[in-house]
Subunit: 231 residues, 2 copies
DNA sequence: GCAAAATTGTTGCACCGGCAATCGACATTC
DNA sequence: GAATGTCGATTGCCGGTGCAACAATTTTGC
């Protein structure tokens, strides 16, 4: 299958960021990737199985589901066109802790991990860049998870919220920002009850620390907010 | 510096697992690694800085410290000879979230990340293995952290303990096992108070679920223990 | 433009678990 | 053997937060 029409998508991924057409040509020639179409609701990946391929979503969107200890499953991430999945997994010998389901009809291409990790003898410069990108991608996911842990181990909800707000503001580069999260979603990320989150955000507003409206947040007193984290 | 005396140590690391002498010779020749000695209490790595080297501990032991939001720092890991540090970090563009301190006098060798990620033109087979090992190492750390998150998001302490016990038993391959953790250490991992942990373990013993003595645990009723995790 | 569904805020209640203090069992050192 | 330090267990207290229920508002679908 000719992947050229999808080169802009591929270039947008953290794995193949900024690669030129001729570079992609050469690499994809090496990889001989398989491409597959899915209907909404089909599974691209099943929890409990190993995988030796890195998937890139060319069309549509997907949901990652994690099986809870009690048998049901909860959504943990959503990804749209250009999304990468199986990247961490294919490099490890672990069985997948998540299933990946097609949220809409979609199209995915799979790069064999063996080919990625074993640069061919021609040793294309772009392949080395790809390797670096792979490690970078995985490492960044590691640190994202690490920050999450740092949030989760904070005992009081007030601290978790404060840390999260400061982190978001830092990321946004300004003290006013919006996030694409509902209250329920934020509560889940912060691992607390939705009503408790509302309650605490309300308190923090009354104390003049922040202002909130839906997904928008404004930090009014950064210093005092930082001091909330002390314990 | 001649590293030959340390080849057994290097072979024991997840990065250079099982490499033959001649392979190590060739690779270390490529890498031109630096070696440095530290006195007890010196820092091998400082939080807040980037690093572009993977460190391997050749002698002695080290402690990884994480700066808490309130300014102090807590120990999160200890490593002895053969320990690997900076592996995840050097592949990312993140600033180190941890400092690494020499717990005893020690000796470390540093492999430049650039050289690791850019296999030289001679394309040694062992270098490709090294790359695979690097990705494997980082991926495994990711999944270890992922399991930690899964523990932490469980609301009740009873569930967290039950999950942990089942995971440990699974890892040990039998229902009786010992872990090198004090109660305080376990409490920290499970993110709870030490006394609360004792209380709950006591309750679980009275209920006939488990038996504990110091660092030893015995699961008496695996089925019922699993059912504890339901909510 | 209306009904249904989703999202958010609010509040009372109950209870889990953090905290602090105390005790006993052991190990280590002088 | 006395002194000291480490580790685990126990207990009373009470504050934070999960839970359930309901109201207010916005969004979605037809």
């Amino acid at each position: 299958m000719n992947l050229r029409p999808y080169y802009p998508v591929l270039r947008g991924t953290s794995l193949l960021r900024g690669m030129r057409d001729d570079e992609l040509d050469k690499m994809l020639d090496c990889f001989a990737p398989r491409v597959r179409r899915y209907q909404k609701g089909e599974f691209l990946m099943l929890a409990g199985y190993e995988t030796r391929e890195v998937g890139i979503l060319l069309e549509g969107s997907i949901t990652a589901l994690k099986n809870t200890p009690d048998g049901s499953s909860v959504a943990i991430t959503e990804m749209s066109t250009g999304g990468l999945f199986g990247d961490v997994l294919s490099g490890s010998s672990t069985k997948s802790p998540v299933s990946v389901m097609a949220q809409t009809d979609c199209l995915a291409v799979y790069l064999p991990y063996e080919k990625i990790i074993h640069p061919c003898a021609r040793l294309h410069e772009s392949h080395l860049q790809l390797l670096q990108n792979l490690v970078l991608t995985i490492s960044n996911k590691y640190f994202a998870l690490d920050r999450r842990v740092e949030l989760l181990i904070c005992k009081s909800l007030r601290v978790r919220i404060s840390l999260w707000l400061l982190e978001q503001a830092d990321e946004a580069g300004q003290d006013t920002f919006a996030v694409p999260l509902t209250r329920a979603g934020l509560a889940e990320y912060l691992n607390c009850d939705r009503s408790a989150l509302s309650r605490e955000l309300g308190r923090m507003q009354r104390e003049g620390l922040i202002e909130t409206f839906r997904g928008s947040f404004k930090i009014l007193d950064k210093e005092r907010l930082r001091s909330q984290c002390q314990e």
